[in-house]
């Protein structure tokens, strides 16, 4: 499959009065055509900052992309002018935000908010844009679109608003859709409907999706691949099966062990990850997760771990995969679920750090 998006060694920092917050510290990933990549990680791990950086929506000041490349269609988005970037936003890459209650303009009619990008990017006339907006409203399952198109956001429920936001995002058939916790603010049934809708539309227009969430339960339903973020870095990536059934990073173990699951009918205790997220103003030396990890090795406090490759698609950034590392027993919840992956290499391979 060909890559639509390739992020290389992305660094984002914020200049604050207290110092420089290094919110994203060397993120690498790629996105293939038609796939859904989930980015998971606890609050503050840099998921939103990464996704906003992809669209160059980091407010500057205080934020800036301090290093790295974002290759889209062979172009490096970090090098584009603001004008050129405006042609990418909404047309090539679109975004859905977390809170549908606040992401629509309260004083603008729903129709105008959808038509705006159509007029801007597809040079449609007003009436043609209106037709298309009606079609989009129908597509995302809003009843009576002829009436709804003239209404304001406060006349819509949260779930309906998020449908409108989805309609806005998909209006120009973007190649990449970034959804930053699109269902977190919604109740469970509406959540499922919105996810269903997104999957449906993805099949129709063949978009790649970056799906940001901290709900691993959702990930299993929507994603093809998963990237686990911690402290501004991606610490593990793999297919959904690899992450759920053969995780390698202690942080991923922690996330999985703290996830309630329905299939383990026995009362398993949820294990919260102890400690607090790292101070991104003064990131710790070595492995950022080491201070909170029961599996930390001495070297974790000295040297940042390199990336190891477990299969063609599975990568993890932990010294535990080094050939000299001691064998450790992951938490019970993880071991219980573990399956052997046939595609795994015989031994984890150290990834040559070409970009660093």
């Amino acid at each position: 499959m060909d890559k639509v998006l390739e992020v290389k060694d992305l660094h984002v920092s914020f200049d604050t009065y207290g110092g420089i917050v290094k919110a994203v510290r060397g993120v690498n990933f790629d996105l293939k055509k038609g796939e859904t990549l989930a980015i998971v990680g606890e609050s503050g791990s840099g998921k939103s900052v990464t996704s906003k950086a992809l669209m160059r929506l980091i407010p500057n000041p205080p934020g800036r992309i301090s290093k790295g490349e974002i290759l889209f269609d062979g172009r490096d988005l970090t090098k584009l002018s603001e004008k050129e970037m405006q042609k990418v936003r909404g047309k090539e890459i679109a975004m859905i935000f977390q809170d549908p209650m606040t992401s629509l303009n309260p004083t603008m009619k729903i129709g105008s908010q959808i038509m705006e990008s159509l007029i801007k990017h597809q040079n449609l006339s007003k009436s043609a844009a209106r037709e298309r907006a009606l079609e989009l409203l129908r597509l995302v399952g809003i009843p009576q679109p002829e009436v709804r198109i003239n209404q304001y956001p406060h006349q819509f429920s949260g779930g309906m608003r998020q449908r409108v936001v989805v309609a806005v995002a998909l209006s120009c058939n973007p190649k990449v859709l970034i959804a930053d916790e699109p269902t977190t603010a919604l109740d469970v049934t509406i959540q499922a409907q919105i996810l269903e809708l997104m999957k449906d539309l993805q099949n129709k227009i063949d978009t790649s999706i970056i799906f940001i969430t901290h709900d691993l339960g959702v990930v299993a339903n929507v994603a093809d691949r998963v990237a686990v973020m911690y402290g501004g870095q991606i610490v593990e990536t793999g297919t959904v099966d690899e992450i759920f059934y053969d995780p390698r990073h202690p942080y991923t173990w922690g996330l999985l062990a703290s996830m309630p699951s329905l299939d383990t009918s026995v009362q398993t205790e949820l294990a919260a990850i102890p400690g607090t997220p790292p101070d991104l103003m003064h990131p710790p030396k070595g492995d950022a997760f080491a201070p909170r990890s029961a599996y930390a090795l001495e070297i974790d406090f000295e040297h940042e771990p390199p990336m190891f490759q477990i299969s063609d698609t599975h990568f993890a950034k932990t010294w535990l995969l080094h050939e000299n590392a001691p064998a450790v027993e992951p938490p019970k919840a993880v071991v219980d679920r573990r399956r052997s992956m046939s595609a795994n290499f015989a031994k984890p391979r150290l990834v040559e750090e070409a970009v660093r």
């Binding site: 669209m55 929506l57 407010p59 603001e82 004008k83 405006q86 042609k87 990418v88 936003r89 909404g90 047309k91 679109a94 975004m95 935000f97 809170d99 606040t102 992401s103 629509l104 303009n105 309260p106 004083t107 603008m108 705006e116 990008s117 801007k120 990017h121 304001y152 406060h154 006349q155 936001v165 806005v168």
Partner: protein, 309 residues
């Protein structure tokens, strides 16, 4: 919307009634009499005059008569100016005051909005700091100081504008500027804050994510939303202009309502004081009403709450 409007009008009338009552009784508490200041009248003459104006009746009777007349739009006769009806006196003076007030409000709002918008767009730059500095001056220096300063510099020294009186548009410039300073300062500060807040909101981020240009975002998305709270301070600012005009009209010798009001107070001209107070109150209540209607026009959420189908 109609029901809402009717409801509002009833509230306005109740408010006006309370103000009229308060004014009446406060007036009665005031020491002195309109007649004493002359001191050339015999006690008999005073009795006759008191009789004529109904000042000998018991207080409740006076009050009822006063309210009855008021309901018919009759504000009584002046004690000082040859028994001229107060309504006529107000009508004769309203022109210059209205012109001055409107000019100051419109100029102040437009300049204030423009300054506020630019300060927000260029926030934390030299322009922003400059606008802040001007606003601090505008808020802290009273309009009469500003007026005197202008009279000296623009009127006396440079002789660009007439120092006082009311004989054409050029005569309105300095008093308008003096009155609008406070409005400019307040609106620009408020607009800057609101616009910055709106610019940081999710829906602006979404608009950016749609690929809308910065100017498009400000014009089509941000300004309207920032205006909503700004509209609320127009009422109080209009009142500020009204009270400011009392002094400003005197300084520039403008034959307006404020100037007459100040004079009537120093002469204990009861009916004129009461009439003008009630007129000012009615005007104020009306301005607040208009501001609320404006609010509804700009903010679709209010429109619905008002019960429009």
């Amino acid at each position: 919307m109609l029901r809402y409007t009717l409801q509002r009008i009833i509230y306005m009338l109740i408010t006006l009634f309370i103000i009229a009552t308060l004014t009446f009784f406060l007036m009665k508490l005031l020491p002195g009499s309109p007649l004493k200041s002359q001191d050339k009248l015999t006690p008999e003459q005073i009795t006759i005059i008191n009789e004529k104006y109904g000042l000998n009746d018991p207080l409740p009777v006076q009050y009822v008569n006063y309210l009855g007349n008021l309901a018919q739009g009759d504000l009584g006769l002046s004690f000082q100016y040859d028994n001229r009806p107060v309504t006529e006196m107000i009508a004769g003076r309203i022109g210059p005051s209205a012109q001055l007030g409107l000019q100051a409000l419109i100029l102040g709002s437009i300049v204030g909005l423009i300054l506020g918008i630019i300060a927000a767009i260029k926030h934390n730059t030299f322009f922003d700091y400059g606008a802040t500095f001007l606003a601090v001056i505008g808020i802290s220096i009273p309009s009469f100081v500003f007026a005197g300063f202008m009279q000296f510099v623009l009127g006396v020294k440079l002789q660009l504008l007439p120092v006082a009186l009311w004989e054409g548009f050029s005569y309105t410039i300095m008093p308008t500027l003096a009155l609008s300073g406070f409005v400019i300062a307040n609106i620009s500060r408020f607009m800057r804050t609101e616009l910055l807040e709106v610019m940081a909101s999710d829906y602006i981020m979404l608009a950016k994510a749609k690929g809308i240009s910065q100017s498009g975002i400000i014009i089509k998305h941000a300004i309207r939303n920032a205006l909503i709270p700004v509209i609320t301070i127009i009422g109080p600012l209009a009142v500020n202009i009204m009270t400011g005009s009392l002094v400003i009209e005197r300084i520039f010798a403008i034959p307006g309502l404020g100037e007459q009001f100040v004079k009537s107070i120093s002469m204990n001209d009861y009916t004129v004081i009461m009439g003008t107070t009630i007129f000012y109150s009615a005007l104020f209540i009306f301005i607040i009403f208009v501001v609320d209607i404006l609010y509804g026009i700009v903010d679709p959420r209010i429109r619905l709450a008002g019960g429009r189908k």
